[in-house]
Structure formats: structure tokens, C-alpha cells
Symmetry: C2
Subunit: 734 residues, 2 copies
Amino acid sequence: MDVADLLTSAGINISVCVVAFSLYSVLRKQPSNACVYFTRRYISETIRHDDPFSLHRFVPSAGWIMQAWRATDEEILEAGGIDAVVFMRIVVLSIRIFIIAAVICVFLVLPVNYYGKDMEHRNFRFESIDVFTIGNVEEGSKWLWAHCLALYIITCAVCVLLYLEYKSITKMRLAYITGSHPNPSHFTVLVRGIPWSQDHSYSKSVESFFSTYYPDTYVDHQMIYRPSTVHKLKKDAKKMYRILRPIETEYVRGDKPCYLCGGTAHTFKLLQNGEDSIRSQTSIDELHPTQIEKECPAAFVFFKNRYAAVVAAQVLQSSNPMLWVTQLAPEPHDVYWSNLGIPYKQVWVRKIVVLLIALAFVFVFLFPVTLVQGLTQPQVLIHWFPQIKEVLKLKFLNRLVTGYLPSVILILFLYTVPPIMMLLSRIEGNVSRSDRKKSACIKILYFTIWNVFFVNVLSGSFINQMSIFSQIKELPMMLAKQVPTQATFFTTYVLSSGWASLAFELLQLFALICNILRRFILRSKKEPTNIALTFPHHTEIPRLLLFGLLGFTLSILAPIILPFLLVYFFLAFLVYRNQILHVYVTKYESAGQFWPIVHNATIFSLVLTQVIAVAVLAMKKSPMASGCTIPLIIISLLFNEYCRKRFSQVFKRNPAQVLIEMDRRDEQWGKEEGIYNRLRSEYCQLAYISRDLTISKDFSVAGPNRQSRTDHNSPQGADENSLKQGTHHIKLQK
Amino acid sequence: MDVADLLTSAGINISVCVVAFSLYSVLRKQPSNACVYFTRRYISETIRHDDPFSLHRFVPSAGWIMQAWRATDEEILEAGGIDAVVFMRIVVLSIRIFIIAAVICVFLVLPVNYYGKDMEHRNFRFESIDVFTIGNVEEGSKWLWAHCLALYIITCAVCVLLYLEYKSITKMRLAYITGSHPNPSHFTVLVRGIPWSQDHSYSKSVESFFSTYYPDTYVDHQMIYRPSTVHKLKKDAKKMYRILRPIETEYVRGDKPCYLCGGTAHTFKLLQNGEDSIRSQTSIDELHPTQIEKECPAAFVFFKNRYAAVVAAQVLQSSNPMLWVTQLAPEPHDVYWSNLGIPYKQVWVRKIVVLLIALAFVFVFLFPVTLVQGLTQPQVLIHWFPQIKEVLKLKFLNRLVTGYLPSVILILFLYTVPPIMMLLSRIEGNVSRSDRKKSACIKILYFTIWNVFFVNVLSGSFINQMSIFSQIKELPMMLAKQVPTQATFFTTYVLSSGWASLAFELLQLFALICNILRRFILRSKKEPTNIALTFPHHTEIPRLLLFGLLGFTLSILAPIILPFLLVYFFLAFLVYRNQILHVYVTKYESAGQFWPIVHNATIFSLVLTQVIAVAVLAMKKSPMASGCTIPLIIISLLFNEYCRKRFSQVFKRNPAQVLIEMDRRDEQWGKEEGIYNRLRSEYCQLAYISRDLTISKDFSVAGPNRQSRTDHNSPQGADENSLKQGTHHIKLQK
């Protein structure tokens, strides 16, 4: 591939992006698309449909870019929470790192590579891209020190920037914990592995255990019921609601506790006012004699203060570590109810099984990747499909097929990965949505790095993949040989996968098509449901980290990738900011739990780069430069270890000092009582039934405030709706 | 090597053992050797020297064997604590496993191997040992299923026995924690990483931190001072003592608190009675204005009850995880004072550095191993030393040199390893003696398994060792090829290293020679000091585990090793019981912390055996049998994971439930006050000075009860003396 080919590819992608961005700027002005492009406000506020039909609605504009650019960190924090800020920090960090890398590599390394050999340079346009890689430098050249120097500067910059980010994100996390509103999850401990007793129910066991061992701080608890039981109750309640629907709204509302768990469940007041008032006041054991059997051996236990909860969560409770397993509860909206019923004894088996399945999946995925590899070589393609031989003779089509098509196919295959990994993370038994997402994120990250980077570099076939494990010693050498030759593929991958993915992200094609279908084909007048998405950290973080890895490894070997990568990160900055501000909702907060993954992945990329550099320099017969690079590896690993010691604990456990101070402040201000009263209703497994009913009622009665729809039991993050309720009425678009 | 050679080797070793055991039975009857063979009672009781010179003192007897055999588990527990019981359990477990293995392999596998090929068997005496290995079975033979079956039975037996042991040792550990006497370490937390403040001393920081965040349960604290400071004080005190020594004993005794830490330090009462009574009552800051600088950023913090201490130890204290790092304090006699002063920030760097040094040591140790390998081949030996060609022509000497000498040399080299590993574990910064021993145990275990098993199997040279890492896939095949051929070497290794090491252990040669030198050459009349050793778990456990590994891997490949191994374990049972009862003292208790290491190592051995079996069966062209062995690997790994989940936490953290119940019991019985008063003096850094002085006083004044001598700062476990004091007067030997 020569420079002209690359520019063709870049041209195609730039035009795709320009078209997509213009299309977006038009589409977002259509009021009918508000549910697609302004989902966040759409579900929490009433948007006035007072925008008249006018020409400016069909003129592309760059207003959204300016808006995204001007948004402050505070606005991002308010709109998307800490996780969104952390995500944007990853983008900004990448921009910073690659600006430094680009400056050094383009002005220092690129000329060294280009003039590395005594050769006659052709017209720049027809120069092969390989001329810009380290492959063009003569063996034993003293100019190889330039690469070594560049690597030193990049490593130092990365370490300093990473340290500052880790520090600031840790601070942000602590600030979130000490934040203004009391978080019910700080007072609640999730207990699993409650021992079975023939004499009394799980509920009684929990009560007796915690009132014995935590008499001063134990407040109450909330059992978890089998999903099937809850589903049946939900169905019954729905039927009942439909019967009693005509009765006036005021009767339905009320602050009676839910008859199953004691939480507030408005709709059940109706029953009491209606036919059997005894029923709602009886306890669960009296209500259904078989109910005990329907309890799961898991419960939420509420404590008087944060410190007591954190102690109960961090201390080993029982002499059998499989019983009375405690952990701090996830936030109420973060709880993944259907997984709470899984017996704790099963969890470790599930984890192992899922790990094995995920590994198998990673290796089976090789077949599409091999296919893609085949497409980059026209002769392989002609071998498979002899008919297209003539077609490929057209230079433009040839470029398109070899330079662009492979990436597109790879991307399409990659789209199947996140749902599968999400499903696996669900089977694993994670008890919170954020944990499930984090677990999926890690799986997708491994998957991406392996299948996009390593398999492409080591050029495919299953045999090659396997031989890596048997020849670990030769891996650096193999990478050193292969990575520079794959520079072209990765550069086009950044152009196609990177840029195009941002265009897709912006256009929200799937949601848009659904919306158009609904409006113009099905002609449905009903309000769309389940449209609010939470930010897909599990797909976007691995993508950013993959591009980071490509940038690092190619930075000194083939610096030509860096400008394209920088453009990608700049676009990502604008697009993701826009999406966080307008599209995605925040329902729960992992408070920066994704950062340690990012940190580790960046260190991995850095060390891999250094190892490859050592091998490349050794291959180029510059043993001194190669040897001088080795200390960098040690420094990077030590730096990582230091960061792990210094910061990572804060992401796993809440520090006692901070919590005790918060408890004291609450005590001084007399806030405690209010919190206790809220706890039970916050963690009510049945609460969402009432919410569902309230919502459908609100829709049918056409109340002024539209509430969010929630379905706690859905397997995907797709239907996690915001619970934030606002009262502002905003105008859609100026 | 043929059967006759093996029997020669066995004969030599049996005679060595018989001689050694007889010698021992005579030597132990000599009253002058009481300090060598009855150290435990010698240092705690006065032994009557009333045994007259009689003939029976010079007649070998087997009384000690009967005594060791008859001793109950309770006696072992009383004499050596839980760690000794756990150690004996390892031996018993090995005996049980290898009885099962021996029965199956000798009656099922051995005949299959022997008649595996259609061949004429020579006279049994001249049969090569290779005839008894799996190498003698024909390829594709259906008798290979016998090996598969044997492996299944052994695996099941090992899993069941391991599970029962883990369960019972966990129970024992819990029983120890809930044991009768209150353990000061349960009430004490070791705090490191106390932040530096310009305004006040570390001591004030500790006080303000804990009285702020643990106001209800914090009792007091005890700073740790730089060892140099303590040493200077110790020197001053010694000088002072020498001056004031003539003054009467009654004046010296008294329960005045130590002026540095407040602990009880009898000898300082003297000063108060003598010249400057002000000095002993002033606080440390007033005493030395520079004293603050001599405080280390570490302290022992005492709590009102066990639960409070365990909470403070297990909870993350500060938002900076490098500050206020807490852990449950080691037992007072277990504290490794000189390491407490190491700043916490350094510890992780030290750990990494020590890890690297240990790894380097493991690989550098290859040279003596290569030498030993050379010795097993007479031609190599002749190449090195042409002079001995004639000597080697004598058949007996040839057998001795090739069959016996290599092992002896290897053992001698191996004797340098424990002190080096102990030193490394000390540099690592472990804060307790038991942790240091545990860390050394792990290092020695890795070292032994690598250098004795793998390097011998993969036959030496550095290049071969390195190539393993680059060809991991081929490792099982390589092992499958090599292990059966090394059967001879390992069998003689069991005979020489195993049996002889027990004889050495019994004779305590080093101590015996020292004693003889002292008595007959130096003609010293002074009582010997520093003679009490704690049990060397760090050398003995890896040895047992190594023999276990050899037994497992060779069990189905070359079952001829099993009878010799069983004899070794039987002898070990007797010898170690005898030594625990009579020689070693118990000063601190890790309460079974060594068991998880043993468990993991056993599982490793088992899985390695299975992997080798899979490879061997595949090599023997019995793919079905090979495939049927693979599920065993999965079962073993799952079993290990289950045990880890089920038991290992109890060895890391004390369960809250148990501690709370103990606290309540203490409260009911009003024991608490007594405990608080003891805490400070138990953790007094200066206390050992007073003890030292008391001891020398006792010796010079010739008081009736001899107290133990302690030196808390000695680097080796060699000088850790028992503090147990008894009043019985025993007769040395009937």
C-alpha cells in the first residue's frame, strides 16, 4: 500500500464522517427524533413540540460541536456522573499522550525512518508506507538511538500523566463517597450464604445473627425472594390493577408499606381500602405458609451508620467462609435482582465455567479474523472467488476491497461480541449491574486485544495462535518482525473502525431506524418505551484502549499512524461529550471502578511497546540501544506496582476514616432518622411493580410529569432507565 | 543400575541409620548431653545429675522409639503446639497416601510393568531397575488402563484425605483461637505508615487518630523505637547493672513500669531506689529531646476487646492506603522487632527485590546440580579426573561413587540454602518470626522442587533450563520421557538424602559437637546459652513435600520407589515425634499457617503427576487412556479451588463471630481488666534487656529456678528460647 492508497482510504472515511455528522446535525433538529438524540431529557421532561416547520431544520450546522466543546466538566459530571467524567478523562489522557508522542515521533522518528536507508525516494504520493516504518532503517545505524530516546520520553510522559490521573480520579471517587446526599448503599450490607435451618426461616436466621453480633448497630433487614415468586406476585398485582384501574388516582397513592417487604409500595393501598384489609397487615409467614421456601439465602441488612456497615462488610463473619458472606450492597438501582437468588456456593463454579467459555469464545472467533486477513491479500480473494478477478483490476475497487472491506467485516463480526460477553457476565452471578458491566468490559478488552492486535499481527491461523504459547521466548521477536509490517492494516483500521464507529455512535442508527419504523411504518401513537440507554462503558472503553495499544506499539515503529489516531481521539472527545450530555442516562454509579482497568491496560500497552522495541532494536543489531530500553520495562512495572499499592485499595474498599466523619456529620445534623426510614423502601424487590403500574397509570391518565420506566430484571443494560426526575421544560433546539 | 546396586545402596543406608540410631540411644543417656537431646526440659527445669556411672548407659536401646510411638497427639500438642501437630499430620497424611499408593502400585502396576514386554527375564538380582518402570510396557498395550485406574484411585484417596485434614486443621486452628488463655495478640493491632507531622511526635499522632476514630475501644499504644536507640539503652542498662550488681536481690525485683514504654521492667527499680528517682518517672519526650526523632512510624495499638482489634486490623483506615496500615499484631514472642522499624513504603520494593534475588539464586544454583548430574555418569567423572579410572574399576567403589556420592554432594550444597532464604525473608521486612519462617518455607519449597526435581529430570545445563520456558507445550512430553529414566536417581535420593537426613536430625551433630568442644576442649563450666531451637519448619516441610512429589510422580511410572519412601515416612514419624517431644522449644505459634502451603504443594504434585501420566500414556499410543486421565486434572483443580474457598480465609483472617463470643465470655467472667494490664508489658521493646539481666543474675546468684534466655534481636531462629517455665524436676533417663 502506498501513500495514495492510504489517502484514498482517509478520503473515504473523512467523507463518510462529514456526511454522517451533517446528517446528524439535521436529524437531531427534527422533533420526532427527540427520543433518539435527546433521550436523557426526553424521558425526564416534557419537550415542547412548538418548533414550526422551517428551512433551518434541514440545513446542516456545527452547533452541536460547539456545544460539546464548550461543556464544562461540571456539566458532564451532572449529566453522566463520575463514570462519564472518568470516561472523558480517558479520552483526554489519550489525546495528551498522543500529542506528545506525535510531536516526538513525527519530527524525530519519522525522518530517521524515511532517510534510514541510502535509497532514491520516489514521488511522495507513490512512496510505500513501509518507507516510514523502522523497517527502512539500516541495521546497526546509530540513528536507532533516536527511537530509544523517543521511547524514554513517551514512557516518562505516560507515567507522569497516568499518576496524575489516578490521583485525581481517586480524589473524585472519595469526593463522591463523601458527597452531599446520604447513599443508602453505604448503610446496607448484602449477606449471602445464610445457613439453612429446619427450625426457622432464613429471615429469622438473619435477624438472630445480626441482632446477636451487631446489637448496637443492626437496624433491620430485607430478604430476597426467588424471582419466580416475585414474578407471580407481579402478575397478580397487574391483574388486580387492571380490575381496579377506574378507581380514582388519589386512592391509589399512599405511603402504606409493601406487604411483602415493608417498603413503600403505593398501589397496594388500594387493596386495603378495597376488599381485605387484613391481608396487607399480616406478615409474610402468615400470609403464605410456603413463602419460607421461596426465600433465597440472601438478604440486605441495614445498619445504623456507614462505619458499622463497612465493618460488617469487610470483616470475616463466620468460621465457615462460605456462610454469612458479606459485602457492601450495590446502590439500589444498581442491584441485579435476578442474580441475588443464586446460592453463594455456586458462584465460584459459575465463574470458572464462564472463564472457560469466554476463553473458548476468544479462540473460536479466529475464523472470521482469518477471513479478514484473507481479504487484505487480493490473490487469496481471487482464489476464493475467481469471478471478481476482473473487478479487482479496477484500481479504485481493488483499493476499496483490500484497504477498507476487511475492516468493515471485522467490525461487523465484533458487534456480536458485547452481547455475548454481557450474557456471560450475567451467568457469572454478578450481583450488581455495574459489576456485570465491569466484568464484561474486562472480557471484551482481552478479547479485542487478542483478536484484533495479536491475531492480526501473528497473521491468523489457529496453529499460529497455539504455537505462541509454546514459544513464548520467541514472541517478542515475532512481534518485532510483524508489527511494522502490519502498520498499514492498523492505520486503515483506525481510519475505518475508529472514525466510522464514532459516526455510528453519533447517528444511533439502530434507535433511529426503530423510531422511523415506529412512526412511519407502524404509525404507532404510543410513547416509545425502553429507549433510555446507559453509557456502554463495556464496549467503548475496550475500543479506546485498543486504539491506545495500537498507538503505543506503532508509535516508534511506524509513526505515520499517530496523526490519524489523534484525529480519532479528537472526534471521540466531541462525539462522546455530546452523547453523554444528550443521549445516555445515568441510573447507577460505579464511581470510577473502570479506571483501574484503564490504568492496567495502559501499562500493559506501554510494556508491550517496550518489549517489542527491545526486540526490534536487537534485530537491527543495535544491542546498546536495545539494552538501554530494558530499564524502561522495569521502571514501568515498578511504577504500576506503586500505583497499585497507593491507589487501588480505595477502589475496592471504602476507607473507615472518611465514613466515620460522615457519620458524625449526619449525627450532628440529625439526618440519621430520615435515612433509616428510606432504607427499606429503597431496597424493595417488589417496588418496581408499583413503579411499573404508576407509570402506565401516568401514561393513561396523561399526568403532567412523565416518570421513567424500569425493568429490573432485563438481561441487558439497554433498558436501564433513568430515575432522575426534573421539572424543567426545555426547548428542543434553538 | 540393577537391583543389586539398589540393594547395596539400601544396605549402606540401612546400616548408616542403624548405627546412627544406636549411637543416638547411647548418647542421649549421657547426662552431659542433656542440653543437646533434652533441650526442651533442660532450659525450663533443673535436671538431677544423679545418674551414676553404669553399664546400661552404654548399651544401645530402642526405648526412645517406643516412647515416640506411644506419645499421644495431646502430648505433641502440649510439647510443640499446633504447628508441631500440623507437621506430624503432614507425615501421617503422607504415610496414609503412600500406603494406598504402594498397595495399588506394587500389586497392580508393578507386575504390569515387569511383564509389559515379551522378553526373557534375567536373574532378579541383575535385573535393571528400568524393567520395573512404565518404559517396559509395550506401546498400545491394553494393560496401560491399569495405570489409568491406579491414578484414579490415588487421586480420589488424596482428595478425600486432604479434605479431611484441611477440615480438621481448620477446626484445630479455631480451637486454638478460642483457647483458654487470652492471647495478647488478639487485642493488639500493629499500625505502620503513621504519617509524619512537624507539630507533634508519632506517638501523639497515633493517640489522636485512634482516640478520634475508635474512642470506645482504644486503650493505649506502644511506639516502636529505632533498633539503634534500643541497643544503646540496652548497653547503658547493662553497664549500670554491672555497677550496681552487688546490691541485694530483693531491691532489684519490683513491678515498676519500664521508663521507656511503661511495661514492667524489674531491674529499673534499682535506679529509682538508688540515685535519680526523677529519671524513671519522666516521660520519654522530657528525657531525651531527640527521642522523638528516634521513634519509628510504627506502633502497637491496644484495644478493649478482640472484636475491636480485628475490625481495626481488617478495615481500610485511611483514604491513602499507604498510611495507617493496620494488621493484627503477631504474638509478643513472635514479633521481629528489628523489622518493625522499616518504613512501610519500602516494604513493597523490598519484596520485589527479594523475589528477584531469590529467582536469581534458584537459577545460579544450577552449577552444583550439574556437577552432581555429572557424577552419576562414570565416564564424565573419568573425563574430569583421569586418575580415578583405576579406582572406578572396583565394582563396589563404582557403585558407591555413582549411586551414593552424587546425592551426598547435592545434600551438602542444599544445606546452604535455608540460611540464605531465611536471610532473604528477613530483608523482605516480615514483622513476625513465623511470617519470616513461612516466607522462607515457600522460597525453599520452590527452590527444592525446581532444583531437585525439574533440573535433575531435565538433566541440568542452563540452556536446557531456559528452553523450558520457551517450549512450555513440550514440557509434559519432556517430563514423560525423562521422569521414568530418572527413577533410579530419585530412588537413591530417597535412600540417601531422606534416610540420612533423619539420622542427622536425630543426632543433632552440630549441637553435639559444640557441646563436646565446650565441655572437653574449652573445659567451660558455664551453662551453655542459645541452645534452644524452634522447630525448623522451613527446612523440614519442603523436604517432606519434595519426597511427596517424588512419590506421586513416580508412583505409576516406577512404583519401586514407594516401599523406600514409606520406610522414610515411617522413620520420619518416629524421629520427628521424638525431636518435638524432647529437643525443640515452642516460643510462638503460627496456628497452622503452614498447612495451606502443604495443601497447595500436594495439589501441585498431584496435577503434575496427572499431566505427566497424560503425556506418558499418549506417548505409549494409548490415546483413550490418556484422554480418560484429563478429567482427573480438572477434578483436582476444582477440588483445590473449593478448598481454597471453603477453608483458606480462616488462615488469613480471624472470624468475627468467634471473637465476639470470646469477648462476651471474658466480660461475664470479668477477665478484661487483667488483660489490659498485661498488654503493655507484653509488647515492651525493652523488656528483653531486663530479662537478659534477670537471667545472668539468676545464674550468678544460683537461684533454684533457671529461667530461659531470650534474644529478640537475633537474626536466626536458632536462639529463640522457650519462655515456658515449669517446676517439675525430672529424672533424665530410666
